[in-house]
């Protein structure tokens, strides 16, 4: 699956790795689009999603707290605590919401997002 996705995307430089705090997130502006990027240092993983929460259309997912639910990495929107899987983008406490996820690549201390 990863290969497929990578084939279809264009890689954009988002930021330096130090711009995203460890075990936290930040928002990058890419092609006029707001992308939330997460540095899940505890797991050694990077994730990227929409910055907009589909519940109330707030640009705040990057300010959410990350964690895991039975091993699945997730982020909680700071507004009303909707939590989303960082892998699938599926909302874990309300089936009707989903956010887009994007592949992340880290090369020479730079963070790339595939769109």
């Amino acid at each position: 699956m990863e290969t497929q996705t990578q084939n279809a995307v264009t890689w954009h430089i988002a930021c330096h790795v130090n711009d995203i705090p460890e075990d936290g997130g930040g928002c990058a502006l890419i092609d006029g689009k707001q992308i939330a990027i997460f540095n899940f240092a505890r797991r050694g993983e990077w994730y990227a999603t929409d910055n907009q929460c589909p519940h109330r259309q707030q640009m705040a997912v990057s300010r959410g707290m990350i964690g895991s639910h039975e091993g699945e990495p997730k982020v909680a929107c700071p507004f009303h605590k909707k939590t989303f899987s960082l892998q699938s983008g599926q909302c874990l406490n309300d089936d009707s919401y989903k956010i887009n996820t994007f592949p992340v690549m880290v090369k020479e201390n730079l963070v790339y997002i595939g769109i």
Partner: protein, 838 residues
């Protein structure tokens, strides 16, 4: 008229019990049972709620008190004769004749003639201005006479007498007196000590109480002018309500030749049959088990028994428990079992708190194993529990005083609701036993109060049993191992309190260290802010340093409250609500410069809304340069200490509340806790700062300060309770130190102080024992831990403004120095507001 298929029943008396009999009979009647019901009433109106008669003066109308409308009688085929008392019973012919000449035959006759006021034969009782207190007509007379009266008295200090005295107060008389022959109030329900407490409470409300007074004569001309007592004293009054007891209405029974008691009452057997088997007597006119039952509950039970019997069922009237709980002019009064039994027949435990107006007495069997009875005045919260413990003869814990005082440390009192037998009646309105509730919880899976209300109706009547039902739910779940422990989340298998102790011992200061040492997995939005709060409460280091920024809830993470639309609000600290004109101007200038919406908060501060994340450090830099500090409006922490203006300006103030409020706010600013904390200081008893609605509140007295704790708003408002009286400032702060630290250490996450107290075994008396009397010996440690936090306080916004690394995080984009372009505002009343949710 008598046919086999149709039974003729005549009821004499349309009072509460007579009405209830008709209601029950109709409800129980099967469709093939034919009954003709005839009801005679002496009063001009249909049955009404005589128990709440005094509410007539508090604004209720006669209609409000009516039990069922005249239509109800007609719709149910009841022939109703009002203002038409039965004057003769012909037992040979089985017929009754009414005042207006109606003649009705009966198969069964029910006498529910009730009782009248007992009027002692004192010279002068016939004078104008002397009333009895029994019917709505009596009340109307009293009401109209009271318009020209100034001083009123009630003869009789029993239950009804005190109700009547309340009525006099409600009618606005300048003086209201209660005159009682016995040496105490409510002599049938409570003892001397309980009566003294009740008397204090009533006197504080303006009633004047005269005990051990024997009235010799009612003096005056045509109208009453005073009461002459046999100790030669005289009380000037211009109206008098006699409420000296009741007299069963048995005169008709006497004429009919039924057996009556020399001191009043129609004698009945266990089936409530009179000496004529076709005639029954129920309610206050009946003498059952050698007594008159002057309460409504046994009256209704009598109606139930006779209705059952007449429809072919079987039932007996058993000696009825006379335990009662009522609210008299705002004061709880309850007695149960045998309230008066004395040593050596029992062991008596008494608790008395004059300051709070509370008296509790329990009588325990000589062997200490069972509860025989007791009295509660001022606080009858434990009434249901005690009544059940008494009725079901539950074996008591070794320290039976815990029943009224609550457990004070150590093991919890053993005689909780789970100690009751299965047949103990928990919900008396719907007759639900403990066994039924246990069955619902463990077999049917009804684990919530709502589910139980649906499945077995428990708690749907008066609601008084709800706390007990909840205890049974959690008790059963504990027994079944369903409810294990209140652990934090999947990542930490500890309660908040356990985790706090572990982190304190371990000295961990980062989330990573805590998770590695005591948890598993990667954490989540539940445990991260919880650990953040623990770390702040333990060490008070800047919450954004080390790995802590990312575990803060979003408000704490940016030291500002996130608002609709994604902007933030700014609240500088204004201790005690005191601010100079210069500082006000600065706030205005900052608001203008950054185009912020401004509003005064409920806590005497100014909130600036609509700030972009990127602007927050600049805004705060200006505010800090002008001498402001963070107001911590974003944290689960101390918010504000509100104050009234106090003795420096106010002509009523007795102490300088503003100065004290500033001292208190400066002492605890930045303190993080399981939930947000608010406080207030009032300069006098008028309480303009509303301190009793705060987590801790202080009210000035002539001698010092009174300290109240555990009140707050939240979704279910609760008043704070008195912890200490007339203490000096130093003692007051010491007690607050201990109280807050004890709360921080033991409360569940996101639990307000009021909820924390409500859940605490032993409640306020236990909290007082810990905080004031130091029964756990931890006071010094609590004070030390608090002082440590106070000593290291730093304004966290100042630290951020001065630290380029931290400051860098206040940016919407990591790759562009622009503000969030999606943010939009609307205009309202010359300011901006957040755009409505899309």
């Amino acid at each position: 008229m008598n046919t086999i298929s149709n039974t003729h029943i005549v009821v004499i008396g349309n009072g509460m019990v007579g009405y209830k009999f008709c209601e029950k009979l109709l409800a129980k009647k099967k469709s093939d049972q034919q009954i003709t019901l005839t009801l005679f009433g002496e009063e001009p109106r249909v049955a009404y709620d005589r128990v709440h008669l005094s509410e007539y003066f508090a604004g209720k109308t006669a209609d409000d008190l009516t039990l069922a409308t005249p239509d109800w009688y007609a719709d149910n085929g009841i022939r109703l004769f009002l203002s038409d008392p039965v004057v003769d019973i012909d037992r040979e012919e089985k017929l009754v004749r009414s005042h207006h000449g109606h003649i009705v035959y009966y198969d069964y006759l029910i006498m529910a003639t009730g009782s009248g006021a007992f009027v002692p034969s004192i010279p002068g009782v016939e004078k104008d201005g002397v009333f009895v207190y029994r019917t709505i007509e009596d009340l109307e007379l009293i009401q109209s006479y009271a318009r020209k009266a100034k001083k009123g008295a009630v003869l009789g200090g029993g239950l009804l007498g005190l109700e009547a005295a309340k009525a006099l107060l409600d009618l606005g008389l300048q003086e209201a007196h209660v005159v009682e022959f016995a040496s105490r109030l409510m002599p049938r329900q409570i003892d001397e000590a309980g009566s003294r407490i009740l008397q204090n409470q009533l006197e504080s409300l303006g009633l004047q109480i005269h005990l051990a007074k024997s009235t010799q004569e009612i003096v005056g001309g045509d109208c009453i002018e005073g009461m002459q007592f046999n100790d030669n004293s005289l009380l000037d009054v211009d109206m008098l309500v006699i409420s000296a007891g009741i007299r069963p209405r048995d005169e008709l029974a006497k004429i009919a030749g039924l057996e009556t008691h020399p001191r009043g009452g129609i004698v009945v057997n266990n089936q409530l049959q009179t000496s004529d088997p076709s005639i029954f007597a129920i309610g206050e006119c009946a003498l059952a088990h050698h007594m008159i039952y002057g309460l409504i509950a046994p009256g209704y039970e009598m109606a139930e028994v006779v209705a059952t019997l007449l429809l072919g069922g079987e039932k007996e009237f058993m000696p009825f428990d006379m335990s009662t709980k009522l609210k008299l002019i705002g004061t709880d009064v309850a007695s149960f079992g045998d309230p008066f039994i004395e040593e050596p027949a029992c062991k008596t435990i008494r608790y008395e708190n004059k300051a709070k107006g509370v008296y509790k007495r329990i009588n325990v069997s000589q062997d200490g194993k069972t509860l025989l009875g007791g009295i509660l005045v001022g606080d009858a919260e434990q009434y249901n529990m005690l009544l059940q413990t008494c009725k079901s003869k539950t074996i008591l814990p070794p320290d039976s005083e815990d029943l009224i005082l609550g457990s004070r440390g150590g093991e919890e009192a053993g005689a909780g609701v789970m100690g009751f037998p299965d047949d103990a009646l928990i919900c008396s309105c719907e007759a639900v036993t403990k066994g039924m509730i246990c069955h619902e919880v463990s077999e049917k899976g009804n684990h919530t109060m709502d589910a139980l209300k649906k499945s077995c109706k428990a708690g749907t009547g008066c609601g008084g049993c709800v706390p007990m039902v909840k205890d049974i739910i959690s008790g059963v779940m504990k027994q079944n191992g369903i409810y294990v422990r209140n652990v934090v989340c999947e990542h930490f298998d500890y309660s908040r309190q356990e985790l706090l102790d572990l982190v304190k011992m371990n000295g961990a200061k980062t989330y990573g260290a805590v998770l590695n040492e005591f948890g598993k997995g990667d954490g989540c939005e539940v445990c991260k802010p919880l650990v953040a709060s623990l770390l702040a409460s333990l060490w008070n280091e800047n919450i954004l340093q080390k790995d802590r920024a990312m575990i803060q809830d979003s408000n704490d993470r940016y030291l500002a409250n996130i608002q609709k639309g994604g902007t933030y609000s700014v609240v500088p600290r204004i201790p005690g609500g005191e601010i100079t004109p210069e500082k006000l101007i600065i706030i205005g200038q900052v608001a203008q410069q950054y185009n912020l919406y401004t509003k005064i908060t409920g806590g005497q501060r100014i909130d600036l809304f609509g700030a972009h994340l990127n602007d927050l450090p600049d805004i705060w830099e200006q505010l800090i340069d002008a001498g402001f500090e963070s107001g911590h409006a974003y944290g689960k922490s101390l918010r504000t200490v509100k104050s009234c203006v106090g003795s420096t300006w106010c002509r009523f103030g007795v102490q300088d509340s503003v100065t004290f409020a500033i001292e208190v706010e400066d002492r605890y600013k930045g303190l993080r806790s399981p939930h947000k904390l608010k406080s207030a200081v009032s300069g006098c008893v008028r309480e303009c700062a509303e301190a009793q609605s705060k987590d801790f509140g202080i009210i000035a007295t002539e001698k010092g300060w009174n300290l109240y704790v555990c009140g707050n708003g939240g979704s279910k408002p609760q008043h704070a309770q008195l912890l200490a009286t007339d203490v000096d400032k130093e003692t007051c702060l010491k007690l607050i130190d201990r109280f807050l630290m004890f709360y921080i250490k033991t409360a569940d996450p996101l639990t307000r102080t009021a909820t924390w107290l409500n859940k605490m075994e032993g409640g306020m008396s236990y909290l007082k024992a810990v905080v004031v009397d130091d029964v756990l010996g931890i006071a010094e440690e609590l004070e030390y831990d608090m002082q440590k936090l106070i000593d290291v306080y730093q304004c966290e916004w100042k630290e951020v403004v001065q630290n380029p690394e931290l400051r860098k995080r206040f940016s919407h984009f990591v790759n562009a120095p622009v503000k969030d372009p999606s943010i939009a505002f609307e205009t309202m009343r010359d300011q901006k507001r957040a755009k409505e949710w899309a």
